[in-house]
């Protein structure tokens, strides 16, 4: 029993986090917005060079053979900076899915080389980042199809979060495009990594609130010296502190593939969404009227929190999983960990 990351895991996470914080500043997000693009080519190349896309690819495919535990801290960092590029979905969802196919039509190698594949999992009605993708993984009943970008029609669905490029995909399945059947644990991976990003977003909203509350003066003092303001930030921090270990446990227990493991994941998605929601709402409150403006950078995180909260399953659907586990499997002091539950 050791509920901690290894030194190697911490080092990789820290290197990735440092790179993301330095590169993906709010000023950089604004620059991308002005050019109407969701990908910074130089950053994407850095991400590829650092090997982040290949972390969860098998070693014989040129990857590092790592798992969700290795990636979860980087996903939190991606949330923290509001990363517009699809690093987390490519590295954590697309790569393992492609690696599990009998015939990936060469796409695993191409994704590790920096191209992207968009995912049309049925839990998300619109496909994110489909316009920049070289191919799409789409479901037709139980069948899994890998379809070239040129063979689909995209109808953009404008999102509140301008970096979320969502599309309705019109396409026709054919025997030639089918590459497998069943999504495996794709939905769980997607939800886990969305949860980790939500934790990062929550922390970012708190940190922005603290910076603002130290600076902004009213009645001759920084507003952060007033308890009413302090407690808004503290309450958000409590939510984040008690979401983060659940996300980490969900990462470690994902491979079990059991109801208990899925319930942990559902728990993680519910509470990380709530933490990000409270942290961003309280951040708006602490920023006062500035909090709802375009000028203050907070909106990047408010928008991403809202989007990810409903991506990869809503709280209502995740609560069903939690309830099923709670009422059908043993609970109590000796059943904290999913490995203890049959």
């Amino acid at each position: 029993m050791e509920f901690a990351f290894t030194e190697d895991q911490r080092a990789i996470t820290e290197a990735a986090r440092d790179m993301l914080i330095e590169s993906c500043t709010p000023a950089d997000l604004r620059r991308l917005l002005e050019t109407n693009t969701a990908v910074d080519a130089a950053r994407w190349e850095t991400i590829r060079e650092m090997g982040l896309l290949a972390m969860c690819a098998p070693e014989d495919a040129g990857g590092l053979g790592m798992g969700p535990v290795d990636l979860v801290g980087i996903a939190e960092a991606a949330g923290y900076v509001g990363l517009p590029e699809p690093l987390i979905e490519q590295a954590g969802v697309v790569v393992p899915l492609l690696a599990g196919l009998d015939n990936d039509k060469g796409w695993l190698e191409r994704v590790l080389g920096g191209e992207t594949v968009a995912i049309g999992h049925p839990v998300n009605p619109f496909v994110a980042d489909a316009d920049n993708a070289g191919a799409l993984l789409l479901g037709h009943g139980d069948e899994l199809h890998l379809v070239a970008r040129a063979d689909v029609t995209l109808v953009q669905q404008e999102s509140f979060d301008a970096f979320r490029r969502l599309f309705r995909v019109d396409w026709q399945p054919s025997p030639a495009t089918q590459v497998g059947s069943g999504w495996g644990d794709t939905a769980e991976r997607g939800a886990l990594l969305a949860a980790a990003q939500l934790v990062g977003i929550g922390q970012r909203a708190i940190d922005m609130s603290v910076a603002y509350a130290k600076d902004r003066q009213q009645f001759g003092k920084p507003i952060g010296s007033y308890q009413a303001v302090k407690h808004l930030a503290a309450n958000a921090q409590v939510k984040v502190e008690f979401a983060r270990p659940v996300v980490h446990a969900a990462a470690a227990e994902l491979s079990l593939g059991t109801l208990a493991g899925r319930a942990r994941l559902a728990h993680a998605k519910i509470v990380s969404g709530e933490a990000a929601d409270l942290a961003t709402r309280n951040a708006i409150q602490i920023h006062g009227a500035m909090g709802i403006t375009w000028e203050v950078d907070l909106h990047f995180f408010v928008k991403r929190a809202l989007a990810l909260r409903y991506a990869w399953g809503t709280s209502a659907s995740h609560f069903e999983t939690v309830l099923e586990r709670m009422t059908s499997l043993p609970t109590g002091t000796d059943y904290t960990f999913a490995s203890e539950v049959a």
Partner: protein
Amino acid sequence: MNLEYTPEQRAFRMEVREWMEANVPKEPLPSFDLTREGFEAHRDWERKLNEGRWGMVTWPEELGGRGLDLIRWLIFEEEYYRANAPTRVNQNGIFLLGPTMMEFGTPEQKAKYLPSMAAGDIVWAQAWSEPSAGSDLAGVRSTCTREGDEYVLNGQKIWSTRAVYADWAFGLFREPGSERHKGMSLILFPLDAPGVTRRAIERMDGEKVFAEIFLDNVRVPVSDRLGGEGEGWKVCMATAGFERGLLLRSPARYQEAVRKLIALYERHKHDLPASVGERVARSWMDADAYALTIYAMCSRLAAGGTIGPESSTNKIFWSELDLALHETALDILGPRAELMKSAPDAGDVDGWLDGHIFALAGPIYAGSNEIQRNIIAERMLGLPRA
């Protein structure tokens, strides 16, 4: 990261389970806050625990413990609550004073006080708060006047849990004329010493859970001061860290309460709206989230880390979780929620009302949640002090 117990940890769990199954009283003990008999019954239980060397398993063997690591401590606690074993009457001693003494005590003090604490022979109370010093603990006015090798203690303490029947107390006193955080010392004194008067304070349900302690020229040897003279504030803050952070409220306490809540819900769910299920699930999730957080904290401590101000987030989380889970239980009981267990048609009201009354105090004791939020804001987040 490895979220599985080792074979040795599993074997340890089974060892605790077997001992608890053989030794935990079949009927609940009478309250330790109502009668001397109830208090002594709990002391007897502490002695029995100590005979099995279960008094404080993390302590070194020579002080009455087993020298076990924190993961085994959590497993012990999980089995303790699973067995519905009696509440630890000496929790102020073993969970607060004990760890403080490990850090600040002299070898003589450790040898003198820790084995008798682990054995339940001396049950401790905390004597910190005063009528004018609650959240503002640095406002303590009770004094310790040095006279040679003795201190003369004077003043009044309040909200001392278990002090009605406890044997000794650890109190915070100041050098006459000193102010605020300076000049304070943590001093141990017997509650039956000449000059000590105790007055019970009844909780709203009549239980005598606290006492006021009046000190009138109480003489104690200087050797019963814990930590340096004038360093009482620093010592107390270390104690408060243990209290909020790790030891006071085991996750297992809430996990066992939630297991009972789920059973209550299962018995009544056909008569309840679906929304109640979600609230029960939330309590289950929160109790497990608290457990995971403590496992992560123990793993961090085992790797040489320390408990910082994040312990304040723990205190807020468990106290709010406790309130919510009891509120849900009372909502399930509905019109029977107000019934005492003695009511003829009480049915399965069990201890939910008692638990609720106790939970109401959770956001107050061990440092009010408002103070904890200030600590989070100032020491974790770096917001300016008022």
